[in-house]
């Protein structure tokens, strides 16, 4: 039950790159991915910046050899999951017990909203092919079938912490000796549904977001997918390239305060971080970098900051929110940020928190504002907190 679980491969696609290497280059160069809407057609296109993946549905479909009518959520997922599996290069994975645990908040909503326009006018209208992949789980199955994964497929949806939960559920399936290899992470495409939903909550910044800034005005929505390949100790030992990183800690807690707002004390965030440290058997001083949830909303950043203060004060590790690059990719964010955490360890690098001008008054710490190179990064804490009070933290450790 306490056997280690290793990260054998990573894959990512986001507004700052179509694969993990491109994302890393953008993180190093401080290039954010937000801009005016190009691929999503919404009346908010000119007023709300978003962080879109820089590929049209047609271009994605062409790269993957799929029909362009498939949900963008599935195509983003397949791009990153395929990359992760190739990166892991496990020669005999098809003969091992291999599973896909994905996560998404919107599933095939990008196609459903097209369907709905015709359907509302006439219930016998609307192309069924546009609504057939509506269910979140269907997105995962499209990906599992393309990859040839059959042993186990499941999908988690806990709002913005979805893919942190899929990664640690996958690790637990390995620890419980139910699977040997798990492709775990999450995906979400931008949709009108989410853009309008977050807009009604008045938490979208009309300019580029400024996480952990005193004058932050909200988040920018993004899209993408991020997956890691988790393997058991036995599989890790059989690989030519020994994995340099393992998932050492994890915890899921609920804030139980409000459906959308975080508690002022950051109870859920505090419990998730504390639980992950305990699981990993680490002290607060062992953490070298916190990849913040850091959405840029008033409420999240104060709750997360307060929880960090409660746990770490006065010994704060370096920290930053990479959502200042990718926007908030919702169900994909835990997966993407897991990939960035693994890269931080591998590349000995701490990413900057972009556009941070005025540190938050009430916080005794300041996130990194420029790239730190040659940093000793042995343990990274990655936070994912969501609607419904669903809070999860993961810890990645150098092996």
């Amino acid at each position: 039950m306490n056997a280690p679980v290793f990260i054998a491969g990573i894959g990512a696609i986001s507004a700052i790159g179509n694969n993990a290497a491109e994302c890393l280059t953008a993180l190093e160069n401080g290039e954010a991915g937000m801009g005016e809407m190009r691929y999503l057609h919404s009346m908010h296109g000119k007023t709300l910046p978003v962080a879109e993946v820089k590929l049209s549905n047609e271009a994605l479909a062409q790269r993957l050899g799929l029909a362009a009518v498939i949900s963008r959520t599935a195509m983003l997922s397949l791009m990153a999951a395929k990359e992760a599996l190739e990166d892991a290069a496990i020669p005999d994975w098809k003969s091992l017990r291999t599973g896909l645990i994905s996560a998404t908040t919107v599933g095939g909503m990008d196609r459903t909203e097209l369907f709905y326009e015709d359907f509302l006018a006439d219930h016998t209208k609307g192309k069924l092919r546009d609504v057939v992949h509506h269910e979140c789980g269907y997105i995962s199955e499209l990906v599992a079938d393309e990859l040839g994964i059959r042993n186990y497929v499941s999908t988690i949806s806990t709002a913005c912490s979805s893919s942190a939960n899929s990664i640690f559920y996958g690790a637990r399936m390995i620890k419980n000796n139910l699977l040997d290899v798990v492709v775990a992470g999450g995906t979400d495409a931008l949709t009108k549904f989410t853009v309008n939903g977050f807009n009604t909550l008045m938490i979208l910044d009309h300019e580029f977001c400024k996480p952990f800034d005193e004058n932050r005005r909200g988040l920018n929505l993004g899209e993408g997918a991020g997956y890691v390949v988790l393997v058991s100790e036995r599989v890790a030992a059989s690989l030519k390239n020994v994995p340099g990183c393992r998932l050492s800690g994890y915890c899921n807690a609920n804030d139980a305060y409000h459906q959308t707002a975080s508690s002022p004390e950051g109870t859920g965030s505090y419990l998730a971080m504390k639980g992950a440290l305990e699981k990993a058997g680490l002290q607060i001083t062992d953490i070298d970098y916190i990849n913040l949830h850091g959405t840029g909303t008033q409420n999240n950043d104060i709750a997360e900051g307060t929880a960090i203060m409660r746990l770490f004060d006065p010994l704060f590790p370096k920290m930053s929110s990479t959502k200042s690059f990718t926007g908030h990719t919702l169900g994909a964010s835990g997966g993407l940020e897991a990939v960035f955490s693994v890269l931080a360890i591998r590349e000995k690098m701490i990413y900057p928190n972009l556009r941070l001008q005025t540190p938050m008054n009430d916080m005794p710490f300041v996130p990194e504002t420029s790239l730190v190179k040659n940093a000793a990064v042995n343990h990274v804490l990655s936070n994912s907190f969501g609607f419904g009070g669903n809070c999860s933290s993961l810890i990645f450790s150098k092996t």
Partner: protein, 354 residues
């Protein structure tokens, strides 16, 4: 990973809420849509909260509360739910307004409550439960994944007890759309005669069934969930049969040890043939009963079957509505639930008396 089913709470198209006599008074539905028989929520949920809640939230929360009350547990260590479709009503409301109002002047409530974790989150909120909280949204595996998560939590010692639920709702829009896929019977007649039709399609159902599972028994616990297995898209019936045989051998039981098989037949000639194959080859001469004439077909319907299995063992009764040919029934101590959803998602659950 044997665990104890301490209590259940179930809102379904049958009279199941409030623990009436076990399926003693079957509810007849006509048409291809079986809606839940809903209780008066005012006695269970704060009236101020009820007004904002959609139907699935009310059903989920009420079933969860009944389950916890029966278990005499105020706050569980963990809450895990499974739902394939999530909160369809709120999703539909927001989507409709967004299209009709061309993305203008929208209100947030429906969006807030449209996320798949709403039911699990509302339960946590009402109970002030800061523990583990997870939501599985994988079609015909949603409830099974939630159960597996609970089994692992208990096995790891991360929780002493876990509240697990399977929840899905039908809305007018979802029923219209799913009907267009040709899933349902055109002339269904009475649900109680579902298996006499010999025609294409099934009947739609919905429900909210919750279970309090624990790793250690207390005095009155008498039902255990001994094993769970799922398999995905078998290439043919032979593969299905071989999965079932390896499941039995993995838990060192033979078909002879099983007193009753609950199958997920849904009246659709095409997909029910899988059950015929399995019964003939693995469970020849075994008693089998169905459940989807009572709750209809939906992705988390296995939660209704698990409720039924737990109650058959607990009450020692096989209700007449299940035992249509009036066969003499010996004491039932071991039940296997075998379900598949569209021949894609197959699951096996072994339930025993202890």
């Amino acid at each position: 990973m044997k665990l104890y089913i301490r209590a259940t709470g179930n809102i379904s198209p049958q009279k199941t809420f409030g623990h009436p006599a076990f399926l003693a008074d079957p509810v007849e539905h006509s048409g291809n849509r079986l809606n839940c028989i809903e209780p008066d929520y005012k006695t269970i949920i704060d009236i101020k909260l009820i007004r904002r809640m959609s139907r699935i939230i009310k059903m989920g929360v009420a079933a969860a509360m009944e389950c916890l009350q029966e278990a005499a547990i105020a706050v569980p260590d963990a809450i895990v739910t499974g739902t394939a479709y999530g909160c369809l009503e709120d999703t539909g409301v927001f989507l409709t307004k967004m299209v009709e109002q061309k993305e203008e002047l929208l209100a947030p409530t429906a969006f807030i409550q449209s996320t798949h974790n709403t039911v699990g989150a509302q339960i946590a909120l009402m109970l002030h439960c800061n523990g583990y909280n997870n939501v599985f949204v994988h079609r015909g595996f949603s409830f099974e994944s939630a159960l597996l998560d609970a089994m692992m939590l208990l096995n790891e010692g991360e929780a002493g007890n876990v509240l697990v639920g399977g929840i899905d709702e039908i809305t007018n829009a979802s029923h219209t759309i799913l009907s267009r896929f040709g899933l349902y019977k055109n002339e269904p007649g009475s649900n109680l005669q579902l298996f006499e039709k010999n025609s294409k399609g099934t009947i739609a159902g919905e429900g909210a069934a919750f279970f309090l599972l624990s790793g250690q028994p207390v005095q009155n616990d008498c039902v255990t969930l001994d094993a769970l297995s799922t398999f995905y898209k078998p290439v043919d019936d032979d593969e299905t049969i071989s999965h079932i045989e390896s499941f039995l051998s993995a838990y060192s039981i033979s078909a002879a040890d099983i007193d009753l098989v609950i199958t997920g037949r849904n009246g659709d000639l095409k997909t029910d043939s899988v059950y015929d194959q399995v019964m003939q080859s693995v469970f020849a001469d075994k008693e089998s009963v169905n459940f989807k004439h009572l709750c209809g077909e939906y992705p988390t319907a296995v939660s209704f079957a698990l409720w039924m299995a737990a109650n058959i063992i607990k009450s020692g009764i096989l209700p007449t509505v299940l035992n249509s040919n009036g066969a003499a029934v010996k004491q039932i101590k071991k039940i296997l639930i075998y379900n598949h959803s569209q021949n894609i998602h197959h699951s096996l659950l072994l339930v025993s008396a202890c």
